[in-house]
């Protein structure tokens, strides 16, 4: 048996490569090249306007010994964990409720319920800033009017800014989980529910035995993607608290931005970025591993 050369195989599959080539050219331009460049910069002392010289691992040492980074890293993990799961649960709940509606009504209801996802994240930050504003916002005013108690400063006091950031972010993005779940739930064959119902399964049991197994793959997809996206989220928390009060709600994304554009220390900013990439990529690898298993089902 003669060995087929690489060229032979390339020729055999030319159409696949042809289809993918344009995409990869574009990606190289906007992803791969900048990423490589950014990684290189973490080993220099590049600053605003300065080319920078090679400094080895200095930036990484700086990172490891920086208190604010430690805090931001931890809080980012908490933020990502909180928002991702909240988005997941709210989205699932929304999808389950919507699936109970009749088609026709369902589309309209879901347009309303999912709508926050389609507002610009930037606007999401402004909307919640205004909604939670201690002096002029709706929520503090409502609580005071209804319960007669004064509210804590949602964006400043105690643990509230953390809660507010997580809730606001979840408000904006649960729609993503909701849409995916809704699609998955609609795809579950009715007969399976009917069979379960005939077997005497109640609503909860039907959910556990019929619905849940169909939601495993969507859940993994949502978890991985939202984890990465919540790590990268910048616009909304930046508008909402900007890392404050003080630096109490400093997220990695905001810290990266400030290091780059307020302190003008690009190399350090990129090094911070590397830490973000580590979190995102952990999610990505997890995800890739899972879909790899998944994919084998199609082969």
């Amino acid at each position: 048996m003669e060995e087929s050369t690489l060229m032979d195989r390339a020729r055999e599959n030319w159409i696949g490569y042809l289809f993918i080539l344009p995409t990869f050219l574009m990606f190289t331009l906007l992803f791969y090249f900048p990423i490589v460049r950014g990684v290189y910069m973490t080993f220099t002392n590049a600053r605003l306007g300065g080319a920078g010289t090679f400094v080895g691992l200095d930036n990484y040492m700086w990172l490891l010994t920086n208190d604010l980074f430690h805090f931001a890293f931890g809080w980012t993990l908490a933020f990502v964990f909180g928002t991702t799961f909240l988005q997941l649960f709210i989205g699932l709940f929304a999808a389950l409720l919507l699936s109970e509606l009749k088609s026709g009504w369902r589309e309209w209801a879901s347009a309303i319920v999912m709508s926050p996802y389609f507002s610009a994240p930037l606007a999401g930050g402004v909307i919640w800033l205004w909604f939670l504003n201690s002096d002029f916002g709706m929520l503090p005013r409502l609580i005071t009017d209804i319960f007669g108690v004064s509210t804590p400063a949602f964006l400043a006091e105690d643990l509230w800014p953390y809660v507010s950031l997580i809730v606001a972010q979840s408000w904006h993005d649960y729609g993503y989980a909701g849409i995916i779940y809704a699609a998955a739930i609609v795809g579950i064959p009715r007969e399976q529910y009917e069979a379960a119902a005939l077997a005497g399964a109640g609503r909860l049991r039907r959910f556990r035995d019929v619905t849940l197994p169909h939601l495993v793959t969507p859940t993994i997809v949502i978890l991985a993607l939202r984890t990465a996206w919540n790590v990268a989220e910048f616009a909304q928390p930046f508008e909402l608290t900007g890392g404050g009060p003080g630096t109490r709600t400093m997220l990695m994304s905001i810290l990266t931005y400030e290091t780059a554009y307020v302190n003008l220390q690009f190399a350090r900013a990129y090094t911070l970025g590397m830490a973000m990439i580590v979190i995102s990529m952990t999610a990505a690898i997890f995800y890739v591993t899972v879909i790899q298993d998944e994919e084998e089902m199609y082969v």
Partner: protein, 277 residues
Amino acid sequence: MINETRRSRLVLYAALGAFALFALAPYYWVIRTSFLTNFAAIDPATNYLPALESLTMAAYEQIWERYNFITFFKNSILVSVTATVISLFFSIPGAYAFARLDFPGRKVLFYTAVFTIMFPWIVITIPVYEVFYLLNLINTLVGVMIALSIFVLPQTIWLLQGFFRQGIPENIEEAALIDGHSELGAFLRIVLPLSAPAVGAAALFAFLTAWNNFLWVFVLTSDEEVRTATVALHYILGSDVLRQWNILMAAVVLLVAPPVVFYGLSQRYVGEGLGGM
């Protein structure tokens, strides 16, 4: 769906109502503010539902006068539509290849593409700016279009490959090959017409993502002439002096309304199959 009772219906509606409230209450406050004068918006004497006579379009009028929103919206529409079209042009074949063709390196390439979906963008703003500068595309609509096309590309590929994987019947291209099509012909004449709903859904998402994109437009432009509505809002927010809540909120309404309404109108047509699985 099974064993409907009146009570469970009521519970369902109540829960959905609560949900709608959670989703819409922040919007309500924004809309209310945008129809008041600046002082009325912060005046505790103004009710939750302001008196009809205190409503005014003043904030919108001022926005229209002060800011070049016609240009911003025109730009937003132009770049979002172009980015959608370009990204579809690239992603349809790309996603198809990932999902249904088998060739050496496919998996590796696919995972590199997935990787771009999850990448924290803020980290690469400056190198990206450099690239666009070298291509002489800074401060041009063309540059923004290209950037947004690529920006939405990963997610479009992702959505479409999911559809191609599961939404297109097995062996259909092979049947077409045997019926006498070339590989390209099978894709163009058989697979593509079947993909219309998925392409529609991907187009919707691409459009919304491009419309809402802040970072790239912000980084790649400084001229007002090429600014999009999203970035314009940021500038209105960011100007040091201006904290006129009514104007701010009117700007938010103008920015948020089109994608939300657009989604509301079109999602029933593209409906399911958005999952990307």
